[in-house]
Amino acid sequence: MRNRIFYLFLISCLPFVLAAQNCAWSISGTVLDADTGEPMAFANIQIKETNAGAIADANGRYEIANLCEGTYTLVCTRVGCNHEEHLIQLKSNVITDFKLQPEENTLEKVTITAAAVKPQSTQATETISGPELASTQGLNLGESLKRLPGVTILSTGATIAKPMIQGLHSNRILILNNGVRQEGQQWGSEHAPEIDPFIADKVSVIKGASSVRYGADAIGGVILVEPRALPTLKGMGGEVNLVGFTNGRTGVASGLLQGNMGGKLPLAGRIQGTLKKGGNLQTPDYFLNNTGVEEYDFSWAVGLKKERFSTELFYSRFETKLGIYRGSHIGNTTDLLNAIERERPSEDGVFSYEIGRPQQRISHELFKFSSAIETGDIGKLSLQLTRQFNHRREYDAHRAYNELPNQITQPSIEFEITTHTADLTWEHKPIQNLRGDIGISFLQQVNTTDRGALIPNYKNYNGSAFWIERWKKLESPLELEAGVRYDYRQLEVGRQGQDTINQDFNFSNVSGTVGAIYRFPKLVNLRFNVGTAWRAPHVSELYSDGVHHGSATYEKGDANLQPERALNTSLTAELDNKKNFDANLTLYYNVINNYIFLNPQATPQLTIRGAFPSFYYQQANARLMGLDWSANYKIVPNFTLESRISLLRGWNRTIEDDLVLMPSDRFQTGLKFNFNQEEKSPFIRLTMTNMLEQTRVPANTDYAAPPAAYTLFDLEAGATFYFHKQPFEVGLAVFNLLDEQYREYLNRFRYYADELGRNVSLRLKVPFGVK
């Protein structure tokens, strides 16, 4: 109902709007009068490095297109005004506005304001934005990232997907949603991130240990989900997205409306929402019963941006109800072995939108206040205060006997977790060529388990301080970075079910990072980083004691576990001949001491339901090393050959054996045809994905051998059409074009059913706006 009201508003505001869409590889924006905020016509914008440039039009708008990846200094000048320089690190489309001061006001001071450009990471980073991000619309966050080299997904059936960075997932990676660490029940491998991907304008994946900047848990890496900045120009605009998928007969609608009031109080605002509904999904041969999904997401933001001061309020709410494949529900190991043996589920399933048991219902709320002040003399001070509330309810198919009728609708497992954070960061004024950040942050968290004694109640307090410095001289090819962080965590564990535990834990850690970027003239960039990260054991690892239904295993925690500590070394070489070839190669070597894993025990756990293999949480020293590769080669101007490779080896050094659940080697080869040379050219792309069989698995710890290798083909096409100057961006995609029947090792339901069959999707994006 609420969403319906929201869409009503969207439609009611439609006629007032205007188009301001940008494609990748271009820099665009508007030149404004710093005093009045009004657009300033005919300013000259030039790139220092290449001398390419543009002249703003009568409305102050400019665009410099056909730019290659790199770092540029943009200079904006106009007769009778001061000039302004922006340092731009171009990896995707960039919008940057200039504010020029009429000369009569600034006779004394000629200010050169550097834009708040985030320093380029010395770690391997993948970014997805613009048309690439658009082509993943309608998919969940994990699935929209899985094409990036080094990124895979750990899934639980067809409805739950968690991103995995270089073999690590869940509590070993961090997700920052609009700058806030996502805090839900991310420890569970069937607990997907509670984020609406439509919120993002850009998603970046920082690969490797990154605790210094982002805090504890960032052992495998960080995913940054970044919404677009609030508009700084007077006016209103927005977009409507519609996506349909044949598999599951899924429909997604997402809308966004934003504007800026302009004038003396340039208050900006945005409202955004997404609706998703899908039914039972289909493999090449049969339907999967109870795999529907419903999602209702909503967010708003209000912000004010002045020259030296900015403040923003942001709220988002994510609600989902998702079915878990009925055929995966088993009672004991015999049932699991029966399921593996029969290869095809005993029931074929039918199409339905109904979501029965087992199911999950999750709601996640995020409230954020942020404010920054540019003092001029000492630098920039930023404050961020957040509150998150996550409510997870899981409805087991294995409902209790003798339930009273009114209890049948009650969940079997229910968690509530509330997290408050406060972050204060000081970006000091550059001291010669040194730029740096010093910050402190606090986190307070309360978790209650209302139903099901899976994990105990706990309170968690964190305090940390960090300091990062970056040295960069404008002409020097070398850029250096170093940082240090101290974290303290106090964990108070309350009770589990009827038992009172009352145990306090204190963990602390010092993390460090050093990195460098070296730019060889024109052709090659090298990035090198050595970083540490840590992770305190989660209460699920300390206190688990029970049968895990999805995997038919008995899991037992250990209250004496120590924090994991990782040392990650990575080297990235980027090559770009600026004509027809670019490539990116990352090599990494990640050593994790006290790596927590489930160690199989010799004697099974006997229960009234029969025997379950027993696993205890234990620690060992682990090593993950691998290679991520991506390259694009223009064979002829219209044809591009694309290649992405992810290789990974995980090893338990203590027991000298392979690590479980590591992604197998993946090779993706694509051929893209562009109809013309322009940036928004219509295109067709055919991608072939070869996933090898995972042959490196620990012996005698799994019921079934990893599935065989498989090859998938995906076909995509995209184009922008204009109707009375109104753009319509249309995309057509066919996933699993040949309807290949296969199973994937990293799907925890690989014992029960095949992966999805062919899925055709059609998407439409309509940006709109008024001047």
């Binding site: 009672g331 029970g546 049968v547 037992k556 009234i608 339901r609």
Partner: protein
């Protein structure tokens, strides 16, 4: 015209802001911190072997502390050779006080349940199920068999939920709620 547009835009803006704040209010946050632990549903399986003449013999398998902790304790079954027996199976949850009778629940939802019986040993034949569900398919709470000569064997009792009873192998479908194996001795 220009002025009208600005007014409309302001109005629209106010509507958006207003609705945003309205839609943001409150998540129903019920903070009852009393965990409700429906952990073990069935703790006890009781077998009653009634001979055509004489005293019934009982044996139980119990796991009162749930999945972890201690393993279930299973009593041995001692039967007489060459005797006709009626086997009655009961399920209960003895972790609650008073104990819950789950046999009644199985009977009420007889269509969704099946007790599977598997034996080993030459003198222990597979019991013949006597009771039927609402669709006239086997249920398995009551069965009969005749023991052979003296010897030893095992009897595995499995309670299945949602099996495919009309399929070829109903006992390999559905999910297992109980699976216990009793040692059986048959003496003269």
């Amino acid at each position: 015209m220009q002025l009208k547009h600005i007014k409309l835009r302001r109005l629209c803006f106010a509507i958006i802001l207003g609705s945003a704040i309205f839609l943001t209010t409150g998540c129903d946050n019920d903070n009852d911190n009393e965990p409700d632990n429906e952990q073990e549903l069935i703790t006890t399986v009781k077998l009653t072997f009634t001979p055509t003449a004489g005293i019934p013999i009982t044996a139980t398998a119990k796991d009162l502390d749930g999945d972890g902790g201690n393993a279930p304790t299973i009593q041995p079954v001692n039967l007489k050779a060459n005797t006709d027996y009626t086997l009655a199976i009961e399920f209960s949850n003895e972790s609650k006080s008073p104990a819950e009778n789950i046999t009644e629940e199985v009977k009420t939802e007889s269509d969704e349940h099946l007790v599977c019986l598997v034996t080993t040993g030459a003198s222990l034949p597979v019991p013949t199920i006597q009771d039927k569900d609402g669709n006239n398919q086997n249920l398995g709470l009551t069965s009969t068999f005749k023991t052979g000569v003296a010897g030893a064997g095992t009897l595995k009792v499995t309670l299945k939920h949602m099996p495919n009873k009309t399929g070829a192998t109903p006992c390999s479908t559905g999910e297992t709620d109980v699976e216990q194996t009793f040692n059986v001795t048959i003496a003269n």
